[in-house]
Amino acid sequence: MRRNSPPAFACWFLESVVPAPYREAMLGDLIEEYALRTESASPLAASRWFWSQACRSVPSMVWSSLRNQLRSRDWLISMSIAIGVYIVMRILEHAADLTISRWLAPQPTTYVVLAPFVFLGITSISGWVAARIRRGSTIFLALMVMITVAIAIYLKVCTIPVPWWYEFGFLTLAPLSVLLTPAVFGVPKPTAGGSAT
């Protein structure tokens, strides 16, 4: 990390999540404020502030993207694509689940370790596929994934006891993987009026 340059990963993360109309302005504000803070505080404290702003901004930005999508005329098309990708994703997850629990890792503890990688891998690929078909559909897919995980946690689908951070990790990383993978693998961002998500 260069002196006075904000955390690169946090910048990339925000660029991937913040809706297009305010992406540049918001990131510019954060970069400017970060530079001011490094003059009066340590770079570590400034980076911590930057990360906290980035993480705390995500729910508002995702909610804003969702509202923008619902306001657009073709939200039904985006939603239909998300539902289609979601169904395929669930079939793949179910197949992977069976493969792991029956043949690869019959012991529950090994299953608990392997499951997140498989689940996050499949949600990431689904996010990328949805974004390739229609960029606006990823926000609906991320929402469906989040609801699915929340229901699974509520119904205690995992048969062996797991710590809270394991469940929280699923709840946050699964929808984020849907939103961030298109940025990692280079699905073009919309230029105006749309949203990154």
């Binding site: 540049e24 510019g28 954060l30």
Partner: protein
């Protein structure tokens, strides 16, 4: 009073912050003003999401400034309170005044 003119709490605070800042400012200045005035550490994302909502309602308008090196070559987006926004602030102010009239000392014991 029309239902649509009622402001949410963060909308109200952000409009007041913009009004205090000579009617126009960018997101980070608004965030800082709120933190300094009422000690509420609002995220920049929440500020921009609310400003976007206010803009959609016609209460504020925005224009893009010049990109600067301090901002990593990114342009500022300046927000300005519009007449509808001022009207909404007046309505909110009147609503609060009407609802709190005669309640002096009634907070105790609540």
């Amino acid at each position: 009073m029309e239902r649509g003119e009622l402001l949410g709490s963060l909308e109200h605070i952000i409009l007041l912050a913009l009004a205090r800042l000579d009617g126009s400012a960018h997101g980070m200045i608004v965030r800082r003003e709120i933190e300094e005035r009422i000690g509420r550490n609002v995220s920049i994302g929440a500020v921009y999401a609310t400003l976007e909502r206010l803009e959609a309602k016609g209460y504020v308008s925005s224009f893009t400034g010049e990109p600067t090196p301090e901002r990593g070559g990114r342009a500022k987006r300046l927000f300005r309170v519009e007449a509808a926004g001022k009207r909404a602030l007046q309505v909110s102010e009147q609503t609060i005044r009407s609802m709190t009239a005669g309640l002096n000392g009634h907070w105790e014991g609540i």
